[in-house]
């Protein structure tokens, strides 16, 4: 066997392993979501439903109010992402460019904040929010999310900004752009892959986050998707079909977002700017 053949075989095995590990549970609950009621608990279980049923989807939406949770999640995740990217860009640009003493230490400090276990800040966060009267409000969830996602966003953006040739900014400055215009018209378009990566990570985090959402949103009115779906089970019922259908629907926006932004998250956008 040639070396390259062995290597590519290893790669293929790796890819398949990764796909099976991460996709199998997903496919399983997709399948459950569209199974007729009787097949969900059938033994032995069937991977492919004998008939595609939309009962669970219908139930999830109309009985369990799935759309209501989706609305809350869109508001929370959307606001978190927008504010996070805007603030992140404004913070990352000086950190990437200005001659600040201990720049590296500051960046590492910011990253260290992102490493805090959530549970360690849960108590103080809850007390602060209660004192502000922000429990069960959107900002009550958005602000903790910002605190948790900003460090990584700043880190990613500062690294992306730092890789751009500084001549481009200098050219823009000489051309008559102010610092803010340099950021919005030159730096951000060029760092678009970084900006979109950071935005996507932030969105996915706030879309999926469960612990703080459960802690802060105790009223059904404000609950986000993960909490909402987790509270589907009643005292005597375990609506597996509805949970699976809702989870599938909850995943669709994320998949669409990734597919949409995938085009933007390409390397080599700066090709042609400067002599490489």
């Amino acid at each position: 066997m040639t070396r390259s053949f062995r290597e590519s075989l290893l790669l293929i095995v790796g890819v398949i392993a990764a796909m099976v590990l991460s996709l199998a549970p997903f496919l399983w609950f997709v399948s459950i979501g569209f199974k007729p009621q009787v097949e969900i608990t059938a033994i032995p279980p069937r991977l492919f439903p004998s008939d595609v049923s939309f009962t669970a989807v219908h139930e999830a939406i109309f009985t369990f109010g799935l759309m209501h949770f989706i609305k809350n999640s869109v508001i929370v995740a959307g606001c978190t992402t927008i504010v996070c990217v805007v603030v992140g860009c404004l913070a990352a640009y000086p950190l990437a460019r200005l001659r600040i003493p201990y720049r590296r230490v500051i960046l590492l400090g910011i990253l260290a904040v992102a490493m805090f276990p959530q549970i360690s800040i849960a108590g103080p966060v809850w007390r602060i929010l209660r004192a502000l009267g922000w429990l069960n409000t959107y900002q009550g969830l958005i602000i903790p999310y910002l605190a948790l996602t900003l460090p990584l966003t700043v880190w990613i953006l500062a690294n992306f900004f730092g890789q751009l040739p500084s001549e481009l900014e200098e050219a823009a400055l000489v051309d008559g752009a102010g610092l803010f215009q340099v950021l919005t018209r030159v730096i951000m378009p060029l760092a678009a892959p970084g900006v979109f990566t950071a935005a996507l990570l932030t969105f996915i985090y706030s879309w999926n986050e469960f612990f703080f959402a459960l802690l802060i949103m105790t009223e059904r009115d404000r609950q986000t998707l993960p909490v909402g779906i987790a509270l589907f089970p009643g005292e005597y019922t375990m609506p597996w079909g509805e949970i699976s259908a809702a989870s599938t629907i909850a995943t669709i926006p994320l998949i669409l977002l990734v597919l949409f932004f995938q085009k933007r998250i390409i390397a080599g956008l700066t090709a042609g700017a400067v002599k490489g």
């Binding site: 823009a172 700017a273 002599k275």
Partner: protein, 368 residues
């Protein structure tokens, strides 16, 4: 023009003394990075329409000086004047200077048109006028067919032309070039050099041009400012610089192959008429004697002739043939002289010969 000179007079503050056609003036500029001085006490004036080249080895401070003029670095000491007004603390965008960078620095996410139009868009120039100006610049630089392309679809020379288009479209007070040709291959460099010369002649633009390439400097410049260790060594026309280098650094730096240099001592003759240069292997009579003591004598390769009857006996070590010229390396005593010989001359390594030169062509530099 009238308008401009009026504003000049109005603004005439600290620079009131300088004549009106000085476009860029740098006065007593020093720049320190940490503890080291990149520039110390630089004075420089660039007149209207002048092509001024800042020349020096890498690390001499020439790029820093250009960046100080552009406003990308602020000087630690001293002031910068553009068009007579003090711009020391003015941001780069408000100085009406245009800059072309070594690695092009054109915006990769914009088309050629948008790249050239960028400075005009920032100035909110009306659309119609903007389009005319961009097309005019593109015509001058033969970029008309590429206006809708992205930089990644252009060759190196075309990218550099886009960068130049972005500069000329603004009609700036002064053009700043930071080693614009050093990323191009040798052939393209020559043609772009000619293009820059032509552009300068057509636009009569005041230009400050940084390079480490003496051929670029000699061919383009009205005036060359030689820098080393952050200080001006000499500021003269290319011819003057070549014929009368002010010091040993300039003598070494200008000319290819460089000037032959010999260390020795000068003793003036009795009565002050003439003198002698004495080194370990040389003894040369000088026509006049302006300096006495330890000295370095310089003579250019083209001013030495191979002449069997010459006064300096030596052996040919090897011969370099550059096509148009041949250079013989001749060992005489403990010195090696590089001599330009006419293409037809029979000369080969190993032969004994003699050299001669006209003492009038000698350069004498005091040695410390």
């Amino acid at each position: 023009m009238d308008e401009e000179s009026k504003t000049d007079e109005k603004r005439s503050g600290p620079a009131a003394g300088v004549s009106r056609n000085v476009r860029v003036a740098v006065s007593g500029v020093s720049k320190y990075f940490g503890g080291t001085a990149a520039l110390s006490g630089i004075d420089l004036e660039v007149r209207e329409g002048e092509f001024c080249v800042l020349l020096g080895p890498s690390g001499c401070g020439k790029s820093t000086l250009l960046r100080v003029i552009a406003g990308l670095e602020s000087p630690s000491e001293g002031r910068v004047f553009i068009n007579g007004s003090d711009v020391t603390h003015t941001p780069p965008g408000d100085r009406n200077v245009a800059m072309v960078f070594q690695n092009y620095a054109i915006y990769p996410h914009m088309t050629v048109f948008d790249n050239i139009a960028f400075p005009l868009k920032l100035r909110k120039i009306p659309k119609k006028e903007l389009e005319n100006k961009v097309r005019e610049a593109a015509r001058l630089l033969q970029l008309e067919d590429f206006l809708q392309r992205k930089p990644s679809q252009l060759s190196g020379g075309q990218r550099q032309r886009v960068a130049m288009g972005r500069a000329i479209v603004r009609d700036p007070t002064v053009f700043l070039f930071d080693e614009p040709l050093s990323n191009l291959d040798a052939r393209l460099r020559v043609s772009m050099r000619i293009e820059i010369a032509r552009l300068h002649r057509n636009l009569n633009a005041t230009t400050v041009y940084v390079t480490h390439d003496q051929v670029e400097a000699m061919t383009l410049a009205d005036r060359i400012v030689v820098l080393e260790n952050g200080t001006v060594q000499q500021s003269e026309s290319p011819r003057e610089l070549y014929d009368h280098p002010a010091n040993i650094m300039v003598a070494r730096f200008i000319g290819s192959p460089p000037m032959n240099l010999v260390q020795g001592t000068i003793k003036c003759g009795d009565g002050g008429a003439g003198g002698h240069f004495q080194s370990e292997s040389l003894n040369i009579t000088l026509p006049d004697c302006a300096y006495e003591g330890r000295a370095i004598m310089g003579i250019r390769p083209e001013h030495i002739t191979v002449d069997p009857a010459g006064f300096l006996r030596g052996t040919v070590e090897f011969v370099e043939d550059t096509g148009s010229d041949r250079y013989a390396h001749v060992a005489a005593g403990r010195e090696i002289f590089v001599v330009r010989v006419p293409a037809g001359t029979e000369i080969s390594p190993g032969i004994s010969t003699a050299l001669t030169f006209d003492p009038e062509k000698l350069h004498i530099f005091p040695a410390d």
